[in-house]
Symmetry: D3
Subunit: 209 residues, 6 copies
């Protein structure tokens, strides 16, 4: 399984392709980024292959979420540079879920392919939640905290589209428990019990001071 | 202390609920549109159902294109108003195709679900064309003329995402032959033979003057 | 010559006064909002008073956060409509804090006026946190989860600026515990213990089912 | 087959005609404006005449500037609504000039048609100024204070383009001397002599208190 | 006091001169492009000459279109970098025309200088077409397929403005017939007869396979 | 299971850290700027210190304006790169003022901290002016000419926020009198007396030809 995983990583991380002036501005990762995206590859270097991404396949769901997100963001698919749209594939095994997260500044569309997913997003005063199945699209407006849970009897999968070529994925548990933030400050600014904070810090490899 | 807390919350929420008028701006088609989209429905009227679209199903391909595009644009799915993203489902029967067209100002992502599609877009000096299959995404950068042909042995279908909530679909044959433009002007500005123009005007119900 | 001049001016001004409809677009809350903001008040109705907001004063910190945010968002100060900037005043009593929250799509600047605040924002892999005092500005880039804690010996206050006229304030506890989301789903998608979820739902008045 | 085809077309067009609501958003001045522009006229009301403006003709230069600007801004030519571009015609008689002014947020292109114009724009530390003649274009980047003087032996005229459908024209003399600002404040914040301020206030019909 | 003033100025200007890096961002073609345009030349290198373009002159119309477009796009006139506007001059000899084309994402304004032009743009369901003469402006909204035909008794010319510094010009015949796209695919996705496709491929130097 | 989980996490983060290249784009001044801002520093180089600016302190008002503006623009505070917001501190001694100026394309918010300021902005036909004190915010919409005068009995100070990370400050006197523009042209295009122009050129160190 580890071997498979590594292969998956390789697909995930490696994306070599090429770019243009303005209509066609495929990212060149050799230079730095800018607030509007990466430098453009020279137009003369571009081929048809630059405009196709091959890795929108089922991810490995043998993990503690029982779920996998396979991304086709600009860092995976450089032709998306500057185009304001990207995609991903979501696979959730029975009982699995994609935990609470946000995409800062990007709207997400979830297009169901198979199975049943209960998903939702929240504002301080309202919950918008539904169970969706093939034929349905659910929208999670930009920046909203949201989740997806497999509520069916088998594996579920969906295609995702985002209103940004680089939507990121800010998983709440990683934000709170994985990056070294003091347990006391987490507790104080979330109203969670300190013991709960320490338990999750242990799980997500954050420091447990 | 709980009571005080509630009062504090109330003050806070009077702001956040107004703020949501923009975070959540589901289109209200009773009023006119604006350059940035439709008027927003009152926040209090929104329910979970507003954020789900149920019609991303196979379209009827029994037509002269042997193909169907089922759209989830803002006019179909009002929650997309102002969010800069939309979706569609593409079904192409064996031998069918989606003819040459553009989406003015919107990039298109084609995410293959089933079958084989040969697709491409053109600049004046280059052709970018590939045959794609499940697991592949092809991108058609904004405003480029492009086409999709079923090049497999059975039905093909794909999900599409667009970098606009209202990408339109400007089919070249409709632009040239269906809207009353004089045959002489079409011939002069496309270099097509006049007879060819008249033949296609007859087919696409344009006037044949 | 003066007469001629006046006539010339009149022609000129008929343009410039129309032009001001966009330069000056004070929100008219009688109509609906749009994705770009509210309708503009008629130019002729505007007075100097429309461009001044009087409420940037200390809020009441006698609440369970020991803190108050006094906002000057577009809904408080209609002249900000369409201008992409807003402000607020932050008061945190000794021991108080502004709990974890996001502003979807808005960057926040915190300009210290008095006292000491320990603040920070997190990505999945990094924590950016500092203690700031008068003379300092801290920036919380758009959409990032962040917090502010009074770490001084007395009251602290600061002025805030936002890169949106309507930044909202999505407090994490309200998103998770105040809007009716099932305790089971919260637990499953946050990895919090169910007992912890129920305890906080009770505190934030969410249903405790 | 034709019948089937027509049905297919109908489905297709119900989308594309809605889509055109945004592609074609001619201003309807009966409603209010918004930060992104005016409401759109119903698509069914539009005719070819909406997309042509007839008044790009020489203005009357018999005035104290010996110059005239004939505008084709959105308020003159409603089809420009939301399109981010507009135009004007500039006529300057011998000895005349367009006085110092800015277009807040719009870049100006000056395309010479006839005669000679000396034009320029300033930053606090630099002057960019040239004499231009037919065949030349000069650009005045967004928001910069600029001027145009006829430096030839006869009438000069030019076409202007702007990067906004509503560029306005903030003439410095009108800003300082025509709108009721106290002479004392003008003097204090411009370092002009009070007598000079009063003299120009008299000329531009500002109050002379 | 003058000395003190100068010191103050110096502090102030250190900011304003940096600020101009963005106000004035003339393209430096030695580096790559980005999604927002080219790198900026150092401010200290700029002179008045950078802001003037000298080539807006009549093009040579002795070609198969009997027409010429002389462009002042960012690649011709680097001062337009990042400013969202550009220009061109159109010359059409008697009997000539600018064939069907699009500018992806840019609106075009046609300002008539001399002669008579019949021009138009099409949506799938409507044609907007007019004959224009000096004094008229016609607008072609962003991304729309459009054409211009000399319908007068002599040469016609016009100035064009675009809502982009890099509008491109996607001529339909070049897209379909000049870049190597298979004749069979062209025929299938345009409904043109194969013989017609091959005839135009021969004319536009596309492969005739 | 924990081990597997960690592996999954790692995959996930490889994406999210790339994603952060855009979420966190601190300016790297070693490279050139672009129309959207400066190149981004490598994410791995960033520390908490990058997100705090320490210089928002009282400026020296011993100058001919009796005023100082201390800026926290992107060139002072590189973390603001691409974020569309910046800040400054304004100190005006008794009798002092910030003279007439514009920020091309940026709106300014003035948040009063101490004292009394009379401020205003002008359109060709209207003056919007008020005296503000602590607790008040005044807004100066984008590109408008405006001024601030200390109208109280002691020192005044305020915090400013701008809707751009690089608002600049185009002081009218510097534009007209400090950069080498011919006195004759200044006089002709402002209607100021030539003697007045020469007097101010002498004061602001412009050439007095």
């Amino acid at each position: 399984m580890n071997t498979i995983y590594i292969l998956f990583l390789f697909t995930f991380l490696s994306t070599t392709s090429y770019a243009s002036v303005n209509d066609l501005c495929v990212a060149d990762f050799k230079g730095p980024s800018t607030p509007s995206g990466y430098h453009c590859m020279p137009l003369a270097n571009l081929t048809s292959d630059d405009f196709v991404f091959h890795g929108l396949v089922a991810g490995n769901t043998t993990n503690s979420f029982n779920a996998a997100l396979t991304s086709a963001f600009v860092t995976d698919f450089p032709a998306l540079n500057g185009l304001g749209v990207s995609a991903a594939r979501l696979d959730i095994a029975k009982g699995g879920s994609i935990p609470m997260h946000t995409h800062p500044g990007a709207t997400e569309l979830l297009m169901m392919v198979k199975g049943k997913i209960t998903a939702g997003f929240m504002t301080p005063t309202a919950l918008y939640s539904k169970t969706v199945k093939p034929g349905d699209i659910m929208v999670f407006p930009q920046g909203m905290l949201h989740f997806q849970v497999n509520s069916g009897v088998g594996t579920a999968n969906a295609f995702l589209a985002f209103s940004s070529e680089n939507p990121g994925a800010q998983l709440l548990d990683l934000l709170l428990f994985a990056n070294g933030l003091d347990s006391d400050i987490v507790a104080k600014t979330t109203f969670l019990d300190l013991a709960q904070v320490k338990k999750l810090k242990a799980r997500f490899n954050g420091k447990t001071s």
